[in-house]
Amino acid sequence: MEKGTFQDVNAQVVERCKAGDNRAQYELYKLYSKAMFNVSMRITNDYAESEDVLQEAFISAFKNLHSYKAEASFGSWLKRIVINASVNAVRKRRSELVPLEDRLAEDVPEEEYDDNTEWQVEQVRRAIQRLPDGYRVVLSLYLLEGLDHAEIGEVLEISESTSKSQYSRARKKLLEIMKDTHSMA
């Protein structure tokens, strides 16, 4: 319900942005900059790089606003731009996002750490930050950005099954990290 009213407000603002209204642009920036910055932070894991991505993404969004059709919400359209820009930024500093040996789609045995330990958001978040690039990107896209494995495959130019197996490994690694820090604490 809340989303419906939100989109209506956006549609008007987006129209004003198309006309080059600077205040409307700021409204959209205020509305989305924080969420988009965090999306980029999770993928690049670098503050300065995320700022670059955010700047680049907003400028390209305002420039190409005419190609935005209202079929998706403005937020998800912008998010796609941010995700692509972030992935490109990671690619630039590192040629392979998903190492070749990890591309083989194999089933990772499901070891559920069902020890019912209570997770803290901060603990999970920090553990994600400590994951290697390839794992962190797939896990973030799946867990936090809500992309399915087919979409992740498209963004990262890998197969859907590779995305699945990569996620399983990342998830396993994440739980290990959390267990370690938990036992350390």
Partner: protein, 224 residues
């Protein structure tokens, strides 16, 4: 398969967004936007006109290609039209006036009257003179008059004609067109003189013949 981690993240989604960009970042985006807008103002204007024809995604590349192709077509058309009109104008001016040119070949017609524009007028004048003289000549039945001389005159006229062609060709290369033109006019005048002379000769012969025909008649009457 139930993913406890996914559920946990979904429940606490908002709390995962802990970072904030520097507040100055918006200002930086604004300046960058203004710079880019200023840079794009000029091409944008052109692009707007054409974007009607192309899909919006194709806009930019299509516009550039379109402008290039359009410019090429316009250039080619302009060249074609210019050449065509030049070709149309020149033979129209020369073909009607020039009868001598038939002797000199058609290829050179186009530019010879640009080199010496007064030539067309001169040729028309003299050609009409020469033609009328020739007509006068043809009225005489040369064979009856017993004149084989005509061949010699024809040869003389042919010689004059070939030297005329030579002079005409010189017009292209000689800077002093006046001299060549004078020679050409002289050439035409000589033709008329030759024809005049022939006419005179014929007239004289005819006069003698008339005398001849009247004299035998007298003789006959006297002998009878």
């Amino acid at each position: 398969m139930k993913d406890r981690l996914k559920d946990f993240v979904n429940e606490n989604r908002e709390e995962f967004d802990v970072f904030e960009p520097r507040p100055e970042l918006w200002q930086e985006i604004c300046t960058e936007l203004k710079i880019q807008q200023a840079q794009e103002k000029k091409p944008r204007k052109e692009a707007k006109v054409i974007s009607i024809n192309f899909g919006e995604r194709l806009n930019f590349t299509a516009d550039f290609m379109f402008m290039r192709v359009a410019a090429t077509i316009v250039l080619l058309l302009a060249c074609g039209i210019t050449l065509w009109t030049v070709k149309q104008n020149n033979p129209a001016a020369t073909n009607t006036t020039n009868t001598l040119a038939a002797n000199t070949g058609t290829g050179e017609q186009e530019s010879i009257y640009q080199v010496a524009p007064e030539l067309a007028e001169v040729e028309v004048y003299y050609t009409s003179q020469i033609n009328s003289k020739r007509e006068e000549l043809s009225e005489y039945d040369l064979k009856v008059l017993g004149l084989d001389e005509t061949r010699e005159i024809d040869r003389e006229l042919a010689r004059l004609d070939s030297s005329y062609t030579r002079l005409k060709n010189q017009l292209y290369t000689t800077p002093n067109t006046d001299q060549v033109m004078a020679a050409m006019i002289r050439n035409l005048q000589i033709r008329i003189e030759v024809l005049n002379h022939q006419l005179e000769v014929l007239q004289k012969i005819e006069a003698i013949k008339e005398q001849d025909t009247t004299e035998p008649q007298n003789n006959e009457t006297t002998t009878i």
